[in-house]
């Protein structure tokens, strides 16, 4: 029989171990991705990788320029933001301020939205939305494009935006809102002059975390963004975002080839993106606060 003191010490040891493990995992992810990504620059110049629009990894005289892929990611993300942030903004205000009886119902549907498997949405968009685009939008020459991917990604990112923005708005002290209302100021002005300025950093935090989700989404852009490694000139052009490139090509890539290193380097870029976004979000929120999911 181990003494109680000793047992407590062992348990506490495990608690500290578990606490350290998260940090170790993050360090491990950085280490392994850099380990398999950095060898790329022994064979391809830094400048070519970031500025060349030519992604021809499987040719004899292969080129590894991710500029077009990067623009692909940015354009899909940009359009998704345009679609989803205004909508999320409106419904988070509705949820936080106007809804009373319907709130629980709406909240539970929003939460369910976040659980929708992206592969299912991708399969839907591939079959139905692309057909609708071809039939109804004359200027669209292909059904798989930035527009289609952004539409589906909006559905996926809305729950993150709505939940986090609502939290930010609800965190505004009640007394301030009541104070404004008691002065005879309308709800509309109170919302735009008192609530939103107060909730500003929380709303920014929500935006950054949501945008991070959009950039990292893989299956939807793999299935419906169009797959063309070109620099787009309009929202109905197809693109090949960074995540889709990894998922689409990894299985057929020789271990230890330049192509393999290049895909890992793309992984490194995604990792750096998401880390930066998370750090900015933490700064806005005040460091030491855990992100709510």
């Amino acid at each position: 029989m181990i003494g109680r003191k000793k047992r407590d010490l062992v348990v506490e040891g495990f608690i500290y171990l578990a606490a350290i493990l998260t940090t170790v995992i993050v360090a491990g992810i950085f280490f392994f991705l850099f380990k398999d990504g950095l060898p790329l620059f022994g064979e391809v110049s830094f400048k070519e990788f970031f500025t060349s629009p030519y992604w021809y990894p499987t040719y004899e005289d292969a080129e590894y320029g991710i500029f077009a892929l990067l623009i692909g990611t940015l354009s899909v993300t940009g359009l998704t933001i345009l679609f989803s942030i205004p909508l999320a903004f409106a419904s988070s205000i509705f949820l936080a301020i106007f809804s009373d009886k319907s709130r629980n119902f709406i909240k539970s549907i929003v939460e369910l939205m976040a659980g929708l498997p992206s592969v299912v949405l991708g399969a839907f968009a591939l079959k139905y939305i692309s057909k609708w685009i071809i039939e109804n939008i004359p200027s669209a020459w292909t059904g798989l494009n930035i527009f289609n991917a952004s539409l589906v990604l909006s559905l996926l990112s809305l729950p993150y935006f709505i939940t986090l923005m609502e939290d930010a708005i609800r965190a505004v002290p009640k007394t301030q809102i009541e104070g404004s209302l008691s002065l005879g100021v309308s709800w509309t002005s109170t919302i735009f002059r008192v609530v939103i300025p107060q909730a500003k950093s929380g709303i920014f935090n929500a935006m950054i975390l949501g945008i991070n989700r959009i950039i990292g989404e893989t299956m939807i852009v793999l299935m419906v963004a169009g797959g063309a490694a070109m620099v787009p000139s309009g929202i109905f052009d197809p693109v090949r975002p960074l995540t889709a490139t990894i998922a689409g090509e990894m299985g057929e890539t020789e271990l230890g080839s330049t192509h393999y290193f290049a895909l890992f380097m793309i992984g490194v870029i995604l990792l750096l993106f998401s880390t930066c976004f998370t750090l900015i979000a933490s700064k806005l929120k005040g460091s030491g606060k855990i992100d709510k999911r």
Binding site: Y56, T58, L126, L144, A228, A229, E249, E252, E254
Partner: protein, 275 residues
């Protein structure tokens, strides 16, 4: 406690490897549909054998064979020079079997109204030189040709682009999709689209073009007149001679007339005689 866990883990591995007479097939997903049919048949004949089909591409197959993690590697392309180097360094020898042929059909929307195309025209379309259908044929609409391709890492892509483009590059605006089904779906929706797929995926929603006047049919692939078809492989580790037992029985079954007849069920073309 830790020792017990370690022991339990080790015994799990041992038991797993003793009990299981599992044939592990890894590699190209082009080969899956036919590999699955053979696996089903083989399992029906040998109920004690288990088969698993894994992997996400030809490269994963060669890699797994090298590391001894697979008994059979599926491939839709020939082994690459780097893979040969790795094989030599490991002192191994892989042996290929041609198990079927894959005829690649060029498809357009039925409403477009063309039925024939040449390799040269395909080359001009896929390199981006022919921007509009009118440039191909004056009777066609002056509309942008919407070009679809398989992902640039797939064996099908490599074979097709080599055949129609030679050394030239695919135009950047060509849309690379991860799946054959997506290409069929898009071409059936879009009047001005063109794509290429495995013959087995042809449906009546798209038109399979005659290439150089030859229709994509089983007979034409078999006789060698259809210009775009390629072999599908299964590789085994032959370092110490051909493997014995169930692995070889599986390949033997695949190459019997019965097994070869199954290639047609999966939409491919038999490599050996059926009758």
């Amino acid at each position: 406690m830790k020792k017990i866990i370690a022991l339990a883990l080790i015994s799990l591995v041992l038991v797993g490897s003793l009990v299981a007479s599992t044939i592990v097939i890894k590699g190209s997903n082009t080969v899956y549909p036919i590999a699955q049919l053979w696996a089903e048949d083989f399992k029906a004949m040998n109920p004690e054998v288990e088969i698993s089909i894994e992997g996400a591409g030809s490269s994963t197959g060669y890699k797994a064979l090298l590391e001894g993690q697979a008994d059979i590697a599926d491939a839709s392309r020939w082994i690459k020079s780097k893979e040969v180097v790795a094989m030599n360094e490991a002192g191994k020898l892989f042996v290929p079997f041609i198990v079927a042929y894959d005829g690649i059909a060029v498809i357009v929307n039925p409403e477009l109204g063309i039925e024939n195309i040449t390799i040269e025209q395909l080359g001009e379309i896929y390199s981006g030189k022919l921007g509009s259908w009118k440039n191909l044929d004056d009777s066609l609409d002056n509309k942008r040709i919407v070009v679809y391709s398989r992902d640039n890492a797939s064996g099908t892509y490599e074979y097709f682009t080599e055949t129609v483009l030679g050394d030239e590059r695919l135009a950047p605006q060509v849309q690379m999709l991860p799946s054959t089904n997506a290409i069929v779906e898009q071409v059936s929706q879009n009047k001005y689209a063109i794509g290429y797929i495995g013959m087995g995926y042809l449906t009546d929603t798209v038109t399979g073009l005659a290439v150089e006047g030859v229709l994509p049919t089983v007979a034409n692939v078999n006789s060698g007149t259809y210009p775009i078809s390629r072999p599908l492989f299964m590789w085994v580790d032959g370092t110490n001679g051909l493997p014995e037992g169930k692995v070889m029985d599986f390949i033997k079954y695949a190459l019997t007339p019965e097994g070869q007849a199954r290639t047609l069920d999966a939409g491919y073309v038999n490599a050996y005689g059926i009758e």
